[in-house]
């Protein structure tokens, strides 16, 4: 057993190169974050310079610091204060999420039924297409007539907008299931439900999550639109209130909050997706 201390083995080299690649990746991530922050600061600076150089009146475009003040005045209050963002955000968010759950579940159900039964597909496909091409926001006034100015119309709008991406994606996902895997289940005399649960649903999972990702942002959009048409509370109401008194900085502040909310919702879906879909599906083999 001779030991050559200065000669790195192939395994050492592999380990070293892996460690190196990892540290490179980490460094790259830091650099990217840095670029992001620097870009954002540059944008703020440009905004500030333009507003003061061109003398833009605050009812057209407020200076960035005015927006920050408006933001802060909505954030730095008690959560139960009527002046804060918390109450309207909670109202909007709870309606959007509730509607999303309803719409996404229905979308998954109908999409699955369409993928599973040709008859259901033939019967429903024309309507799905027609409704899909219809700008659903245009239905909002009708929804408000049917469901009133309360939470009902907000939930319904959110559900409606979350429904379609889920329907289309779960349908496409189920149909994309590898034919050999379905044959395998057939060879094992698996029941329809077993094939659905063990093959079709997991095969469709990446599609379903893409649908959820789209659906959750659409649900937020639907809720805001319904709020524009008439509501007692919510972020849409906060925008129309600020607009009524040409508080453009206030509108910007609400938009910023909504933007962050959208990003958080999107990242949450992504995070659930990554922790749930752990497998690497190379389709074949």
């Amino acid at each position: 057993m001779t030991d050559i201390p200065h000669e790195p083995s192939a395994l050492d080299l592999v380990a070293a190169s892996a460690a190196n690649a990892q540290s490179l990746r980490r460094r790259e991530r830091w650099v990217n974050t840095g670029i992001g922050i620097a870009g954002f600061l540059a944008l703020l600076l440009l905004w500030k310079v333009l507003v003061s150089a061109l003398n833009v009146p605050p009812y057209i475009l407020p200076a960035p610091e005015d927006v920050f003040i408006a933001l802060w005045s909505g954030i730095a209050v008690s959560p139960s204060s009527v002046l804060g963002f918390y109450l309207p955000l909670w109202s909007t968010l709870s309606n959007a999420l509730f509607g999303f759950l309803i719409g996404a579940s229905l979308g998954l159900m109908v999409g699955s039924l369409m993928a599973e039964f040709r008859t259901v597909e033939t019967a429903l496909m024309p309507y799905a297409f027609a409704l899909q091409s219809l700008p659903k926001v245009a239905i909002a006034p009708l929804i408000v007539i049917w469901c009133g100015f309360g939470d009902g119309s907000k939930v319904a709008m959110a559900a409606l907008l979350a429904f379609f991406p889920m329907l289309v994606n779960s349908f496409a996902g189920m149909r994309s299931a590898d034919i050999e895997r379905i044959e395998l289940m057939k060879a094992l005399s698996a029941s329809r439900l077993q094939t659905y649960r063990l093959v079709k649903l997991p095969s469709a999972a990446p599609y379903i999550f893409a649908g959820l990702d789209m659906g959750i942002v659409y649900a937020l959009l639907g809720t805001i639109v319904a709020e524009f048409l008439g509501a007692q509370e919510g972020m849409g109401v906060a925008i129309t209130k600020a607009q009524a008194v040409t508080d453009v900085a206030g509108v910007f502040a609400v938009l910023a909050i909504l933007g962050v909310t959208g990003i958080v919702l999107h990242l949450t879906v992504r995070w659930i997706q990554h922790s749930l879909i752990h497998w690497v599906d190379r389709g074949q083999h």
Partner: protein, 275 residues
Amino acid sequence: MSLSASIETHGVAAAEPAASARSAALIQAKGIVKVYPTVSGEPVLALDHLDMAVRDGEFVCLVGPSGCGKSTMLRLLAGLDRADAGTLSLAGAAINGPSSEVGVVFQQATLLPWLTVWQNVTLPLRVGPNRAPRRESPVRDLLRIAGLQGFEEKYPYELSGGMQQRAAIVRALSHDPKLLLMDEPFGSLDALTREKMNAELQRIWLASRKTVVLITHSIDEAVFLGDRVVVMSPRPGRIIRELAVNLPRPRVAAETFGHPEHVKLAREIRMLLEG
């Protein structure tokens, strides 16, 4: 008659004693015709009055040119398709659909990537109607024989291609079927892995002694593995020759491939396939 009249036994290979063949035919295929409709409208005759018999415990390799209907025959045996004419029976009973007496290994391992190796190989014990009470210890033995012990909780993507295919074989055997059907199981593996897998398959087979019908493009593989090699004609598929392989088992690649018997049979099959 288990070896029907259309089957020619070749002089080179000693024919099996007719009595034992008659007594224990597991598969009986008579006059099998299969026609596939095509998009162009011209139907394709995949199998043309094919007759075949497989004895209980026999390892039969089916070779033939691409598109000769080998896979069609396998699908019929697996109950995944119905023949348009002819009779097909397994252990005396007509094959009317997928049966728990049959295990199938596809060209691809076709493991479910969202299930662990253990969940994958025990799938046949968990799906389908009226499954036998769970008997998992034989599956543990199979995994050990297949060299997959310790990989139960891994996911398929953590396994090499050869290991995935071995897991697929274990899955096909886990519910203890009478018949194992394999459709080009090692076609997607590289030559060296394939040779190793052939030896592994032989080992698993010697331990389980199932009846096997294996489809392959590889003449060497067919002669190495089979008790009998069935050569099919180009489409429409018929059986043109059956050759018994009288090489001692366990066969070892290094010895068998150079064996005069192997060389002779391989040449014979090659000439048949090249027409």
